[in-house]
């Protein structure tokens, strides 16, 4: 739990570069995302493609060249199992994304860039995650 200072600093910096890029790409503006989803400006594909290209190097090459990360930790795998529930989650996420043009990263960064309306979206995301946890917790018994 206790986060090393170097680790905390690098993590904040990673988030800040990510956020700066989100703002630069205009994806913090819900209307830009909707313009993509209605296929009037396909810019989001370039944003996603560029981000994935950089990370193909990070995820495919770096773990093969280095035993540990720069801070001496293990490279972690994303835990994910594709099942019916996950697919339903993807559909619900898509409905929300298509409705308001916001997703979790841009909601945080857009708030930082001075759009207070995104507090409403963030409250909604927190509420949705809470509802999911209460529901999933009950299913687990």
């Amino acid at each position: 739990m206790g986060l090393r200072f170097s680790d905390a600093l690098v993590t904040i910096a990673s988030g800040a570069i990510f956020g700066f890029g989100l703002a630069f790409s205009t994806m913090i503006r819900p209307e830009s995302v909707i313009a993509f989803l209605t296929l009037t400006d396909l810019g989001l594909l370039l944003v996603l493609g560029s981000a994935v290209a950089v990370n193909l190097i990070a995820y495919q090459l770096v773990p093969r060249l280095c035993q540990t990360t720069l801070l001496g930790d293990k490279f972690q795998q994303r835990p994910f199992v594709l099942d019916k529930q996950a697919l339903l989650g993807g559909v619900l996420f898509g409905l929300g994304w298509g409705l308001c043009g916001v997703c979790p990263g841009p909601a945080l960064t857009g708030l930082g860039a001075g759009n207070p309306d995104l507090l409403i979206a963030l409250a909604g995301i927190f509420a949705g995650a809470l509802a999911h946890g209460l529901w999933a917790g009950r299913r687990q018994g």
Binding site: G43, V47, S50, Q76, Q77, A107
Partner: protein
């Protein structure tokens, strides 16, 4: 270029920076930098229910909070250096309802545009590639229907 009426430079440069931030997190700490888990893990500070007290949330909430604060700071920095932001006028009800769907859906679906879209795709995870197809298709269909209805 009808596909890109606003040019392409800011999209490519922005995307490379987004990628750089996510890659930096992975190369330094080995963590896939998905954003949406933060919104579940944060509840572990307030609630005692077993779901929110699960080990993976307790172990990751510290760095996830740093990462989220970094994302906010990145937006503030962008404005502080004098770069332009166009105003947005998304209706509050869309942000509220959309937010709930996004929060619930991302957690049920095991990730969002950053977790599946960037980290999962860069991991060449077949499941993540399917998920991106599912939420992208659903979102495009939703936006088209709403536009056709004039909502």
């Amino acid at each position: 270029m009808a596909f890109f009426p606003n040019g392409i430079a800011h999209y490519v440069i922005g995307g490379l920076l987004i990628g750089l931030g996510v890659a930096m997190l992975y190369v330094t700490s080995g963590r896939p930098g998905g954003v949406s888990t933060f919104f579940s893990a944060a509840w572990s500070w307030l609630l005692d229910r077993p779901f929110f007290r699960q080990k993976s949330f307790l172990e990751s909430r510290g760095w996830r909070l740093c990462y989220a604060l970094g994302l906010v700071a990145g937006g503030a920095l962008y404005v502080a250096v004098g770069l332009p932001v166009s105003p947005s006028a998304m209706p509050a009800w869309k942000l509220a309802l959309g937010g709930v769907l996004i929060g619930f859906g991302a957690r049920l679906g095991g990730g969002c545009t950053s977790g599946h879209g960037i980290c999962g795709m860069a991991s060449l995870s077949p499941g993540s590639i399917v998920m991106v197809g599912v939420f992208l298709t659903t979102a495009i269909a939703t936006a088209w229907v709403l536009r056709a209805l004039g909502i």
